[in-house]
């Protein structure tokens, strides 16, 4: 099993790196979006699958990252700076809001996160002077990747450099999160998911660890958000809306809450499904919602568990 996983992973990475060689602009564009959603959803699942906290407000931190990055790029066009600002903005917002949310039981927590997410949305919508209101921020440059005095790579649409930039950073972020899960910190989070009381009796301040987990999730949401402005050249309020918070929820459920790769698999499947549905109807949210309902009622384990438990044994016995 482990060897298969390793080779699949290797194949996927080689595939991703060689993608520009045989695909057009649209495929690369979609792949960047899949990477963004994957990073976003992985942060979300650190909270849900590993710490047992369900957050409906992650889009708020995504938006913080996107807007912060955009504002920086409009003043100081340096891609690295934009990305770092986005990460920090997401993490900081999560830390401050998390302070108020994590001390509560899980139901209150979920309600509070939905509320905070919408608070950020309402700010983005109304605070014209800072966020541009419902017009958003426009004219954001795809700034060059540079370290002043060392090198500067132009990220213009002509090259595929931006794709590689997002790919490399995403893979790095995913790898770091993977290591985190396998570390004592990750194990402690899993303990919190299973039995908070027992973890307290191990000498752990549950509140502090929940806050840490929430901050990391916010950082990843901010990172994902920061990839957006240079790609689309604009940032508008809908990215903070709760319907956007629904995306990591759905793709994680789709791929599998209790596996590491679940959110990634879910993101890929999501874009494929959305691509298909959108060709037939503009009302794809209904399908979105129906799929969520179906998954909860019929198959909560998600695709990855389905493959491992149902399909793999069939293949093994051939």
């Amino acid at each position: 099993m482990k060897r298969i996983k390793f080779f699949l992973l290797l194949a996927l990475i080689i595939f991703l790196f060689s993608l520009p060689a045989f695909s057009g602009k649209y495929i690369l564009y979609i792949t960047i979006h899949i990477l963004i959603l994957s990073v976003f959803a992985l942060g979300f699942n650190l909270l849900l699958g590993y710490t047992g906290l369900l957050s409906f407000g992650q889009a708020g931190f995504f938006a913080m990252g996107a807007y912060a990055c955009a504002k920086i790029l409009l003043i100081l066009p340096s891609l690295l700076l934009g990305t770092m600002t986005g990460m920090i903005a997401g993490a900081l917002a999560a830390f401050i809001l998390g302070f108020l949310c994590v001390r509560h039981t899980r139901i209150y927590f979920s309600m509070l996160t939905l509320s905070f997410g919408m608070m950020i949305y309402s700010l983005a919508w109304k605070w014209r002077e800072v966020t541009g209101g419902d017009d958003g921020l426009v004219g954001i440059p795809r700034a060059p990747l540079e370290i002043p005095g060392v090198f500067s790579i132009d990220m213009n649409p002509m090259g595929n450099y931006y794709y590689y930039y997002v790919l490399v950073i995403s893979l790095l972020a995913i790898y770091l999160l993977y290591r985190l899960i396998q570390s004592p910190f990750g194990l402690t989070l899993k303990g919190i998911r299973e039995s908070e009381n027992r973890v307290a009796y191990a000498g752990i301040s549950v509140r502090h660890y929940r806050l840490l987990s929430f901050t990391i999730a916010g950082l990843y949401a901010g990172l994902a958000g920061s990839f957006l402005p240079p790609l689309e050249n604009t940032v508008t309020p809908p990215i903070a809306h709760w319907t956007h918070s629904a995306e990591p929820v759905m793709v994680t459920l789709l791929g599998g809450i209790h596996t590491f790769s679940g959110p990634i698999v879910g993101s890929i499947v999501f874009y494929i499904i959305k691509d298909i549905i959108v060709r037939y109807t503009q009302y794809w949210l209904i399908w979105f919602g129906a799929i969520i309902v179906f998954l909860v009622l019929v198959f909560r384990g998600g695709i990855v568990i389905f493959l491992i438990e149902r399909i793999w044994p069939l293949i093994k016995w051939r």
Partner: protein
């Protein structure tokens, strides 16, 4: 002998019912103490108050002369108090090994370590194996905790309570639901560890065989109050205690 834990007029009400009524208690280091009493006497409430699960309405708790009355659970554990639960409180979806690793990492202050993989923490793994050996679960270390037999889960529960290497360890009905062999294993362990003076045990038990054979001291609770406190010999002869256990006379006949 040093006084580890001391309470002053501890009181806790649930509505109109006094679960803990003016309790003044001292726990001496190295003295294996049992807390007994009929159902509803307030034994678990007392342990909850001492370990931080709930806070008293009035009164104080001191550990090594430091006041801990309103200290949260995890801080009490850091000071050296731990407990096992009557109702199982293990990590069901994690393996037995992972279960004990959690408190061990916390003990070694490594719970925040996020880059080094668990597998690379050899010292923690060694401690975990040692602990599992002591409680007899070493050959089940890679099994998921949730599928263990009831007796094994109780063993794990005790192991989790021992993992933080506490000075004072409360065991709430540690042998409930175990078969005789498991029961003996647990008792041997408690006796050995108590003798090695690593932890001071305070045990809530209903089984009088265990209570009388194991304890250095017995405290009897009834309706939230301590009605007797002494050596097993003294308690056996105590008329108050016999009266309180009137319905459970059968336990007394055997003595």
């Amino acid at each position: 002998m040093a006084i580890l834990l001391r309470t002053e007029k501890l009181k806790k009400y649930f509505g109109l019912v006094s679960a803990a009524d003016h309790i003044d208690l001292e726990i001496e280091e190295g003295v294996l103490t049992s807390i007994i009493g009929p159902n509803g006497a307030g034994k678990t409430t007392l342990v909850n108050l001492l370990t931080g699960n709930i806070f008293p309405d009035s009164g104080k708790v001191f550990f090594k002369e430091e006041e801990i009355t309103h200290l949260p659970i995890h801080e009490r554990v850091k000071k050296g108090i731990c407990r096992s639960f009557q109702i199982m409180n293990i990590f069901p979806k994690l393996t037995v090994f992972e279960n004990v690793l959690i408190p061990i990492f916390a003990l070694m202050n490594k719970s925040l370590s996020f880059y080094k993989l668990i597998d690379d923490h050899l010292d923690a793994k060694e401690k975990a194996e040692h602990l599992l050996n002591e409680i007899g679960l070493i050959d089940k270390k890679n099994l998921t905790a949730g599928i263990l037999s009831h007796g094994d889960q109780r063993l794990l529960e005790i192991g989790l309570a021992m993992a933080p290497e506490p000075k004072l360890l409360f065991l709430d009905e540690p042998t409930a639901g175990m078969n005789p062999i498991e029961r003996i294993k647990v008792l041997e362990n408690i006796r050995k560890l108590s003798r090695e003076k690593r932890s001071t045990f305070v045990i809530i038990e209903h089984d009088m065989d265990i209570v009388f054979s194991l304890s250095d001291r017995i405290v009897v609770l009834h309706r939230g109050q301590i009605i007797a406190d002494g050596t097993p010999e003294e308690i056996k002869k105590n008329e108050e205690v016999k009266k309180v256990y009137l319905g459970e006379e059968i336990f007394w006949q055997k003595r």
